[in-house]
């Protein structure tokens, strides 16, 4: 299961950082939907390295090819094979790692798990693994948009100690998000964040941050009790993204400091349906969407790869001073935005299809 995700809309990914390429199979996409590489490439471009001064210098065009499942620009309902070649590989950058596991990387754990590991370190823990997800997620997102008009928008809400204020989750658009390099809709905060990241990059250090996401226009009724509650699926999906350390839905951790009488979302009649006055539930009650926007936040740690010297030990336990030579991101959150959107689309797309069979009743 470990590289396969979903029940009716199922994605399987493959590929390491330094093999021939990475990709995915998306199985279960409904037939008859228009689809070409042009529907997928924009999200890959938002994810790709080297896109701005805030990201790693590794250069990859990350051009996707659809291998199967689409004919004359229309989906057949059969598995969609997706492939992106690896091009700018510099395995030489990783030589030191053969003796020394990088702190807070997956070199050590992959070695302990498999008794072997890729020359580039943590193999499947590489950020390049997420390419297959973004490609498949772009298709899931298109399906959700066309059938249900669902909109999924993620943005950077915090970098290190700088937080965005006053983001309107009902009106935010992808265009607003992309209007600056850091992908934060609060333009004041964005400037400070960008300056901070540039400074951190110069110092060969890294910082963490938080990405927020809203999913709008979901009908009520998506999400499967018990173990496949919508928030459980989102939590798994988000914590499966490299470098994530936390997930919260709706009121989240702050909600623990409210009383029930403050936290409860009273119902109200809106446009012939029931809405809620507040949305502390984050659009989900009992694991099932209630028709309000689904809102969640994901915490990213500071990237483990830093140029600053670190005192650590090699695999034999001998003290070593390590300074990364590989190219890396000083802060992953701008590039994480499309990854989070993709994973959200895969979760929602699967739950949408799983609910559709009940809609006959």
């Amino acid at each position: 299961m470990s590289s396969t995700f979903g029940t009716l809309l199922k994605v399987s990914t493959f590929g390491e950082s330094h093999c021939k390429g990475v990709g995915a199979i998306l199985d279960g996409c409904p037939p008859g939907m228009k689809l070409s590489e042009a529907d997928i490439q924009p999200q890959l471009d938002r994810r790709k390295p080297g896109q701005s001064k805030l990201t790693t210098d590794r250069k990859e065009s990350d051009q996707v090819t659809i291998f199967s499942g689409v004919e004359k620009g229309v989906t057949l309902g059969t598995p969609i094979g997706l492939f992106v070649p690896n091009k700018d590989q510099r395995p030489g950058d990783y030589k030191e790692m053969s003796q020394t596991p990088r702190p807070s990387h997956a070199d050590f754990t992959y070695q302990m798990k498999y008794g072997i590991r890729a020359a580039s370190g943590g193999g499947r823990s590489s950020a390049r693994e997420t390419i297959g997800r973004v490609a498949a997620g772009a298709i899931a997102e298109k399906m959700l948009k066309e059938i249900y008009k669902v909109e999924i928008i993620a943005w950077v809400s915090t970098v290190f100690d700088i937080s965005a204020s006053a983001v309107d989750a009902l009106r935010i658009t992808r265009e607003i998000v992309d209007s600056n390099l850091i992908r934060c809709p609060d333009m004041e905060a964005a400037k400070k964040m960008e300056a901070l990241v540039v400074r951190v990059k110069e110092k060969k250090d890294s910082v963490g941050g938080i990405v927020s996401c809203v999913c709008r226009n979901l009908p009520a009724g998506w999400g499967e009790p018990v173990f496949d509650k919508m928030e459980a699926g989102l939590a798994q999906a988000m914590l499966s993204i490299p470098a994530t350390k936390g997930f919260e839905i709706g009121s989240g951790f702050a909600g623990t400091r409210l009383k029930g009488s403050e936290h409860n979302d009273s119902f109200v009649a809106v446009d012939g349906r029931l809405g809620t006055v507040t949305n502390n539930s984050g659009g989900i009650q009992g694991g099932i969407s209630n028709g309000e926007p689904v809102v969640f936040r994901v915490a990213f740690k500071p990237p483990a790869t830093i140029g600053i010297e670190q005192q650590t030990v090699d695999f034999s336990g001998n003290p070593v001073t390590l300074a990364a030579k590989g190219r890396h991101d000083p802060c992953v959150v701008p590039r994480a935005v499309p990854i989070i959107e993709a994973m959200a689309a895969l979760v929602l797309g699967d739950l949408a299809l799983r609910q559709r069979y009940r809609e006959h009743n």
Copy 2:
């Protein structure tokens, strides 16, 4: 899938609040392990309602029966059927709900999903659903303890605005946790928490809180990349528990405010293996355990059932004043402790078995 969880150690649960009973099937438990109801009952007792003045008054003895999979006190390796009858049912308490969905409950979403719902409201969203998990989790925990000496200890770290300080995750025991009713190892904080919960109960309101959990003695190498990373499995498991709103592993959300040079866990030689100086990773790197303690925290919202009057609308959109008559917990965190331990045991138990086949190599 929705009521089934796990790959090699697989639990399937059943039961609503007001049917004949609740339970689970645990498939994949290794053969030859001593097992009786006495191994399971203690965790059910820690979960059961009516155990103290801090919990709901519903009285259930929650006695478990093993139906299958065990003979002469030893597991056969075959599915273990587990059953707990429902006894203290008062469906009359739920009459008003037939017209009005309770705010922040699952009445509305179950109705929208299924076009029908249990008289007691949200059916499978009931806290009684967790009985099957706790019973199955107790078996998983025993297996982990006997084969690997794994210890799993959860405790209440926050109630509303009161937080425990100075909890030593390396030394905490279940006995310490149970030395007070609120299950907080900081005795000073515990007193304040208990007083607060009593006060909140008198006011017919409710409060949220945070439960922390440590899993000790895991070997390095558990956890499956990509989608079944250990933290992803834990996140899904925890967010599948009713009333949870957030999950964080290791440094969590606070870790976003650290620099990479501060956050990285340098390696150090310890007892012939590699350990880490700090544990911001929370025992997991690249989705795989590194041998350090796995530490995570789960946020619980204030229970939605409150006796205070709430302004809301009925299913037809007409204004209604609602005050719950059903019995309920003013704060779920003390009873959530064994549920979190159970879900952690189910996740770790499955990942342990999934790694075992590689250990031949």
Copy 3:
């Protein structure tokens, strides 16, 4: 997975021959369907031991209880817990087996697999394991009948060297099948079969046979390429029944002796849809139903438990003469009829739900 089957309609079974009872959880049954024990019991009665002179003498009433998922006689869409207690246990009958694995039984293989086995021998390989399937299958069958008018009828077509002739798969009913003890619709053949089985029972021997099954009124479009083709699902389901040795669909093995020009099922216009002139395909093309009756056959070996003395060896390799003292069936096919119907219903029910989400398009 091993005791769980299905994707959207998912059954998990538990129970050995001599534990407290056997049962199943059926997850995914659509909500709003009328259901009570009375809908399930008839198929359990057709399966139960001791029902006629042709079957084992073990006496079990096999009364089913619904634990959950149904309220006021209507399904909630939540998991349906099903339980049947074991009553007429005589573990003493199995004493000899503790030293000697019975030929062609599962005593040896369970011991090798698990390093332990149930006192009654092959644990989950017991025919009693099929009770959970029959109970769950009866619900799946009801769903298929009510939503799609699907009819599933199995019958005995061969016992040893006696075969039924002239069975009209389009018109056969369960009443015709049950009009004799052997459940063969050819009354002439039935008499001979019954006489043969009585004779074989007296000689403490056993015989095999073949059960045929037709599934009528399926719409075109059920079945998932590639690995979940309808015939692949049926084949797995049938070969998972104890004592089965073969499966064939449509023309089956005999079809290998036809030319393509004879075997091809030409299309013809029928009632505004396309039908086929012949049905060598057995109602399935490319793994997907074509609207014609699905017809298949299942081979059952002679039961391994016989009273005749057998020369074999014990677990240590010492020669032993063995004669079974446990009660047993001289021929399983009459009791296999409802089991095959149940497994067919579980396969078709799952594929029906998996196709329903596409029917919106």
Copy 4:
């Protein structure tokens, strides 16, 4: 699930007949195994079209590329991406099909299922879909051979009305099988079969046949009760291959005509383990391997694509005379041999890994 198969050793395939290519991801292969394209290509060559006068004239070199999961010729334990481009496409051959569903093909059922279909007809029902399986199966086979010395050999035992005699399942080798074009180890029968197929090809007709398969050197203990019995997994795998109509294990359908006293496989001490005197069980008891050779047979219908004129109707129900212009095989069994070996290897490989975690006990 439909294009994904397996629990721990999991294959996902993609690709139609006339898209850019076909392939698979194999997840779960143990790390540290030597692997290159040269290990996979021989089985693809045995499967490929145009290999002899007995097969279709479509020319495809079917060269496989490993995309990921292997570094410096050694497996990493991560997903192995496999790709084979489509080259000799002639979609023009399929023009007539746009109006008329070919008898006994999947054109009609795919259209009914998806409301759309590939220009080449049945999309995923194409024989080219099996390329991904053969590539992945070759890896599974290598793993089984290196860890357990398991040998899997399939051969043609029947073509139309000509059957091989005297095949020694204990000694047959792949070299013997490949010593003639039809892949039948009985040289006399092989000559007749080849002559028959040539004759049938000239007449633009087709014939069916039977492929037998033996799996040797399996340890006792593989196979998971209940639904994942070894024979159930094999049955699903075999019936998922295009054009298959039947499966039998051990004594199969012929075994129904034996008495229990004849059919039972008595145990005997052999080389310090328990063997059986006969092997009517086909190496499996209670769903679990007993250490004897696993022997099964698979029935293939005559290919549906024939050049002979057929009377049928178009999608609108109008009478049509159809004669296939596409290239096709007059008899699929010689090319089916490596496909059956591949599917057997995928089933056994998965069950082997699923048993390995118990071998610690």
